[in-house]
Assembly symmetry: C3
Homo-oligomer: 129 residues x 3
Amino acid sequence: MHTFHNPKQIAGPFGHYEHGVETALPGRLMHVSGQIGVAPDGDVPEGIAAQTKLVWQNICAVLAEAGMTAQDIVKTNTYILDRDYVPVLAEMRKRFLGEDHRGASTTLVVSSLVRPGWLVEIDAVAIAP
Amino acid sequence: MHTFHNPKQIAGPFGHYEHGVETALPGRLMHVSGQIGVAPDGDVPEGIAAQTKLVWQNICAVLAEAGMTAQDIVKTNTYILDRDYVPVLAEMRKRFLGEDHRGASTTLVVSSLVRPGWLVEIDAVAIAP
Amino acid sequence: MHTFHNPKQIAGPFGHYEHGVETALPGRLMHVSGQIGVAPDGDVPEGIAAQTKLVWQNICAVLAEAGMTAQDIVKTNTYILDRDYVPVLAEMRKRFLGEDHRGASTTLVVSSLVRPGWLVEIDAVAIAP
């Protein structure tokens, strides 16, 4: 019933999980693991803009393996280390979702992410016909 | 496949997202964005009780646009700034869900929310026939 | 449409929520509340290994009431107080999900959980035919 998606363009997974889990309902439900700003070669750039762009590229890569796009996202959770990142996050979100798709969202400032140097993590739920 | 819900009784959305996303499955799945204690006029009252009541009113307003009620909620995530808020949260949750409906729940103390002065944020998943 | 699961092997629920919510779609969707490392008698052992093991036993107990197993999990969110717990979490996750099932995952370090002494909380979404 489930199809797992770990695109080669994304480093990891770094643990015992899939980057994406697709579930065949009438409608296909995808849970995308929390993506961080890591490049395919494992490099983590400095700065919230570069990391957020990679996060979204990673989310889109997971979706693409299932024939989905960012426009199929129904919910994201965004976890950041500093409230000052919000304007950059908002701009990047609009760029990747497009003007006409928004999706539900929760954004939180947390104590830290799993590795030092990670500034932002976003997970997503997507559903496609 | 998706219907978006941004009731006029709720200020915002404050970014590139919907307050609610309804998905037509056999069964309608709703992801409600993290709601904060902001009144329709944008005012954020002081105190956890007033803010939590507004959060729940906002959640119910999103659901109502889809013909749903709090009794259709299957999961909430509650994010707070202080563990001492828990008794107030619990009382308000029961008031809005009703004695006979409870739903799944996760509650976390986080570092901060997107704006100073916000004390609580709750998001929800609801499903109705 | 919903079936609620509160296995006797799990202490609580400690508030106005269910441990598990099962939803009959074509495919049964289960939202498992954030589980903490509490034994059936209410005891919370010291140490991340003992607590994480109990968390997973609790998740599996919720799933079992619906005739589900850890292999039906499609997403988990793991909330911890210290990044140093990650290796233990990873080992326990593999033990309970099994070598051949992984599921999507997000892991965050938060400020605190609802009660002092709780070191880890994990919630889950599962889907079974």
